[in-house]
C-alpha cells in the first residue's frame, strides 16, 4: 500500500495552522490512491508536546523529530531529517504547505529522493489510470491539469484550495524519529526578525483588509487599514508596490510571489489590481474594491465596487461598522 508523509509546518516550537489543509490534501490523496499517510512534526524539544493535538486527523502515525538542532531548521538539515523519516515510515510521497517553509525545503528533498514535485497543488483525483492534479501557472491565469510519471511525488499544497481535514475516530499513535541528525552542510542560522503579530494570520483570517501605494506612508497604512481590520477582527495585507515603497512589511504581501489568501471578505483599498496581486486574492468569497479610478482592473473581480477616495471611505466604513 502506498504511503504519503505529511511534513507539518512548525516554527520550531508549535505547529502552524496551514498544516490543516495539507492534512485535508492527504485525505484526498489517500482516497484517490487507497493509501495511507503519516504526519511528521519537526522542531526543538518543545515540539514533542504539540504531538497530542495532532492525533485526531487520520494519520497512521504521528512521527516526532525533536532536537535542539531543529529549533531553527535550515533547509539542508531539515531535508536530511525528512529524507530519513521517509525511510523510517516507508512513505514514498511527501506533502507540506506551500508556504515559504514548504517551498524552501520540499524541492531539496525531491532532488535527494529523485522525485518529481508539484508546487501549489489545488486538487488530486484518480482518473482511472493514475493520479491527476491541478495547479496554477502564469500567476493563476491558467490552471494546468498534470500527471506524474510514476505517480509518486512531492507536493506543496495550496491551503486555500483545501478545507479542514476530517477528524478520525481513533487516535494516531505517536512515534519517535529514530534517524540520525546529520550536521548541516554549511548553513548557520543567524536570526529571525519577526514583528509581533497582533492580528489573525493573513492566510487564515476570515477578513483581510489590503492596501496599496495610495496609503502613502506606514503610519497612514496602519491607522486606516489596521483600524478597519481590527473592527472586523481581520488581518491586514498589502500590494507589492506598498511593500516595495516601505509602507508595509514584506510578510503582508499578497500575490503571485507573496501570500495567497481566500478569506470570506477581502477589502481592497487603493489597489489597482495587477495580475500579480489578483493571483493572491481572486478566490476570496466576497471582494470589495475602493478606488478613485473607475477603470481600475480590481473592479472587474470585485463583487462590490466603490469609486471613492480611500482616505475618506475607509475611516467612514470603520466608524459606521
Amino acid at each position: 500500500m502506498t504511503k504519503l508523509l505529511v511534513l507539518a509546518e512548525t516554527d520550531g516550537a508549535s505547529v502552524l495552522p496551514d498544516t490543516l489543509p495539507t492534512l485535508a490534501f492527504a485525505q484526498s490523496w489517500a482516497a484517490a490512491t487507497g493509501g495511507s499517510y503519516d504526519l511528521l512534526l519537526t522542531g526543538g524539544p518543545e515540539i514533542a508536546q504539540a504531538a497530542t493535538d495532532w492525533q485526531s486527523y487520520g494519520a497512521g502515525h504521528v512521527l516526532v523529530a525533536a532536537s535542539p538542532d531543529l529549533t531553527h531548521p535550515v533547509a539542508d538539515r531539515l531535508a536530511a531529517v525528512v529524507n530519513a523519516a521517509l525511510q523510517q515510515t516507508g512513505a514514498t510521497s511527501l506533502a507540506a504547505p506551500s508556504s515559504t517553509f514548504g517551498r524552501d525545503v520540499l524541492p531539496r528533498i525531491a532532488a535527494l529522493r529523485d522525485l518529481p514535485m508539484l508546487s501549489d497543488v489545488l486538487s488530486v483525483t484518480n482518473s482511472g489510470n493514475g493520479l491527476t492534479f491541478r495547479r496554477p501557472m502564469y500567476a493563476g491565469n491558467l490552471i494546468a491539469t498534470v500527471t506524474l510519471v510514476g505517480n509518486e511525488g512531492v507536493f506543496s499544497v495550496r491551503g486555500t484550495a483545501f478545507g479542514k481535514p476530517e477528524p478520525s475516530a481513533t487516535a494516531s499513535p505517536i512515534e519517535a524519529f529514530t534517524g540520525e541528525m546529520t550536521p548541516t552542510q554549511g548553513t548557520t542560522w543567524i536570526g529571525l526578525d519577526a514583528p509581533e503579530r497582533k492580528r489573525p494570520d493573513l492566510t487564515a483570517a476570515r477578513v483581510v483588509v489590503s492596501g496599496g501605494r495610495p496609503l502613502r506612508d506606514a503610519e497612514t497604512f496602519e491607522r486606516l487599514l489596521g483600524g478597519l481590520a481590527d473592527k472586523l477582527g481581520g488581518a491586514v495585507g498589502a500590494t507589492r508596490a506598498a511593500v516595495d515603497s516601505g509602507i508595509a512589511p514584506n510578510e503582508l504581501q499578497v500575490g503571485q510571489t507573496g501570500k495567497v489568501v481566500a478569506p470570506e471578505l477581502y477589502i481592497a483599498a487603493g489597489i489597482s489590481g495587477s495580475i500579480q496581486h489578483l493571483a493572491g486574492m481572486k478566490d476570496s468569497k466576497v471582494i470589495v474594491a475602493i478606488n478613485t479610478d473607475p477603470d481600475a482592473p480590481i473592479f472587474q473581480v470585485a463583487d462590490y465596487g466603490l469609486v471613492a477616495d480611500l482616505h475618506q471611505a475607509v475611516p467612514e466604513l470603520t466608524r459606521k461598522l
Partner: protein
C-alpha cells in the same frame, strides 16, 4: 570568484497569456524577456562586482536557439560571458536542475545566483533542487546578500512568511532571489550592441551527459472560471447594507 547566473526566457509578466483554440499557450504576440527574478539575480551579481568584489559573472540558459536573445541582454547588463546549452526537449525542474548541476561541475562557480521562481510555470524548485544535487547549502528568497571579504561565505536575509530570516552559508552555495533584493538597471541599446563582442559559448545538452526525461506532464491548460460580475455601490452606507444583507459577511 565566479558567479553563475542561470536565466530563463519567459513571456513578459505584464502581458496577458492566452490559449489557442487547441488549448496551447498562444505565442503569436508574446514579448519574451529574461525571467524577472533571474534579472534581479544578475543585477545583484553586477552590483557585488561594483561594490568591489573580484567577480567573474557567467550567465547560462538551457533552451532552444531563440533564447540567445536573452543571453545577449544578460551580457549587456554586465555578465562577462554567456553559456547557451541548446536543448529543444520538454523540461521540468528535475530536468533543468540536473543539467545545471552538470554545468556547475564543469564551471565550478563559487556561487549560483538565480531567481526563486520563473513567472511562467511558477514552480519555485530549480535552485533548491540544484543545491541538493551538488550537496551545497541554499539560501532561498534573498532580499539582501553580503559576501565575506575573503569570499568564503555569504550572509543572506530571506523573506519568509513570518518576517525576515538571516542565514550564513559557506560557499559554494545556491542563493535564490526575491523581489526586493534590487531593482535591475535599464539596458540601453548601445550596451546591447557593444555586448555583441562578449563571448557566448554554445553547447548541445547531450554534451553534458545523459539527459533525463521530465516526469511532470502537463495534460491540459485552461483559464480559471471568471468571477461573476459584481456591481458598483454609490456610498459607504450602501456598501455596508450590501455586505450585511446581500453577501451576509458582516
Amino acid at each position: 570568484m565566479k558567479i553563475l547566473v542561470p536565466i530563463k526566457r519567459v513571456p513578459d509578466p505584464y502581458g496577458r497569456v492566452r490559449l489557442t483554440s487547441g488549448g496551447q499557450i498562444d505565442e503569436s504576440d508574446i514579448k519574451w524577456v529574461i525571467n524577472p527574478f533571474d534579472e534581479i539575480a544578475l543585477e545583484e551579481a553586477v552590483r557585488l562586482r561594483e561594490r568591489g568584489a573580484n567577480v567573474e559573472i557567467a550567465t547560462v540558459a538551457i533552451g532552444p536557439s531563440a533564447w540567445e536573445e536573452q543571453l545577449r541582454t544578460s551580457l549587456a547588463m554586465g555578465a562577462d560571458r554567456a553559456l547557451h546549452v541548446l536543448d529543444d526537449g520538454p523540461t521540468d525542474p528535475g530536468v533543468i536542475s540536473h543539467l545545471l548541476a552538470a554545468v556547475c561541475r564543469r564551471e565550478n562557480p563559487d556561487l549560483v545566483l538565480m531567481g526563486k521562481q520563473a513567472i511562467d510555470d511558477d514552480f519555485n524548485q530549480t535552485g533548491q533542487r540544484l543545491a541538493a544535487l551538488l550537496g551545497w547549502p541554499q539560501a532561498t528568497f534573498a532580499s539582501q546578500i553580503e559576501l565575506a571579504p575573503d569570499g568564503s561565505r555569504a550572509r543572506v536575509t530571506r523573506e519568509v512568511d513570518s518576517g525576515r530570516e538571516t542565514l550564513e552559508v559557506a560557499l559554494p552555495a545556491v542563493i535564490t532571489t526575491d523581489l526586493r533584493l534590487n531593482e535591475p538597471r535599464y539596458v540601453a541599446l548601445p550596451a546591447i550592441i557593444k555586448a555583441r563582442n562578449k563571448p557566448l559559448q554554445r553547447l548541445e545538452a547531450s554534451e553534458l551527459g545523459p539527459r533525463p526525461q521530465p516526469r511532470v506532464i502537463v495534460q491540459s491548460l485552461e483559464a480559471p472560471p471568471p468571477r461573476k460580475a459584481g456591481r458598483r455601490v454609490g456610498s459607504v452606507d450602501e456598501l455596508i447594507t450590501a455586505l450585511r444583507e446581500e453577501a451576509k459577511v458582516l
